[in-house]
Subunit: 317 residues, 2 copies
Amino acid sequence: MPDKVLRMVRSEGAGPALRPVMLAIAGDSAAGKTTLTQGLVEALGADRCTSICVDDYHAFDREERRDLPFTPLHPDCNYLDIMEQHLQLLALGRPILKPVYEHATGTFTRPMYVEPKEFVIVEGLHPLSTKLARACFDVTVFLDPPEEIRRGWKVERDCAKRGYTPEQVLADLERREPESAAYIRPQRKYADIVARFAPIATRNDPPGTPLSAELMLRPTIQHPSLSTVLTDDNRTAMHLKILRDADGTPTDCLHVHGHASAEEARQLEKAIWAELDVDGGPPESLGRIGDIGRSEPLAISQLILLYHLLSAGTVDR
Amino acid sequence: MPDKVLRMVRSEGAGPALRPVMLAIAGDSAAGKTTLTQGLVEALGADRCTSICVDDYHAFDREERRDLPFTPLHPDCNYLDIMEQHLQLLALGRPILKPVYEHATGTFTRPMYVEPKEFVIVEGLHPLSTKLARACFDVTVFLDPPEEIRRGWKVERDCAKRGYTPEQVLADLERREPESAAYIRPQRKYADIVARFAPIATRNDPPGTPLSAELMLRPTIQHPSLSTVLTDDNRTAMHLKILRDADGTPTDCLHVHGHASAEEARQLEKAIWAELDVDGGPPESLGRIGDIGRSEPLAISQLILLYHLLSAGTVDR
């Protein structure tokens, strides 16, 4: 407690609020948002990062939702106006009193005083769903795993951490599908980066091989210049190609295969890192998935996000 | 639930937010803020009023406060920055997600979505404690009962509704006194109206006589022109005199005696009401104190506030 008080007293005299760098990680339930976020927080240091989940802006608890004609994916099941307000406040460097939804019990508990640090990472189902919300971010990501992969992740997590049975989770996924299609997946088009982690269908990698990453790097923000590094020499495990987005815009697409070796990945990581004017090499903590070990595709995806966070931070705001 | 949803859906299409009239009622614990507020809400109609208590912005629950060197009266025991934010949002006609502190248990529960209606009444310990907060209000009131009266009210209420014993309440009052002096009473100087309900020392009114009201009507806002009504004819039960405020500014002071008859009060009420361009007479519900009956001094105090709320509402905002 005294810590909290001291912090409050200190912040009063801190002068005008500093505007943080804001990153959105949007995606459906169990799309891997938290795994991605945790790696970034660890790489940047928890003392420089504020991470929040905007699913806390649910308007109804689990009990109330039973009588409602929609799931938490529906905009009307969330206080999106309050979410917008809070994102704006954070973007301006102001504190918020964030609601807290407890997934374990499906109820709302005591709200939390959140002050934006240097970097604010916002993950959730709806961070890109309104124009005002999108305007708050420097970088936006949409996680887009194949549905069968996501289904597996969701069953695993909801049974382990939220007290559901596999049958309940699968029934829930089915019930949510129309609203996923109507309200979650449309956010994909507003992301600067669309990340898809998936196995490669045409290969027979041994079990335990990490998923490959396919990163659509849209020209809405300036990405590290990968085309100078990804020459013909390292085309095996990683490659970059131009394709057309759904609306016809030319877009870079970076593939990092799950079988990429640490050495191959290291080369690309160093090249990305070198474009930033920071001391030391890329953080060691990238690419960690629970206790399973390291995934090079995840590490490189996180590094690209880190690049954007750190370079946005150096621009005069 | 469906009601809540419908309201949300409806409000989306409602166009630009309307700015409400904002009234602050500040004062120490058990100074009579809720009694005053309830009468106003009843008179205006609950469908036109939003009333909130800013003591919900406590930063610590009862348990945590045990280890802290200060009481809830201390600014550092409250998220006054969040209170300021929320007052600004309400003043702009925007909704807030208000924290909820439960006095019965001393804990924080699920926050509440609050949309400002035509009139917003904000009561609490600290609504006038910062410049930004004060700037949100059209009219500000400070309740200033004599300490022995307030002590009696606090013992009565805290024992009946908050589960304390009289000894605990009295010890608490003593512990709070330095912070009352430092942080609550200084708000008195920022109020447009200072209201003091008290018995008249020089009279021996029969038991059950309502408390008299002494209303300092400061020239910071334009009050109804009482001087034309309060002539020598009705000087017995009500009178108006000019005095100097602590800083020397001339200020009107209206006295309404507890023994004022309903007829006498009626005359003044009609005169105040006539200055407003509204249909019908003054609301019947004014002056009610619990089940005790009607107090003319309270009724007239509420009517003056009602006058300000209704006339502020007619000004182009």
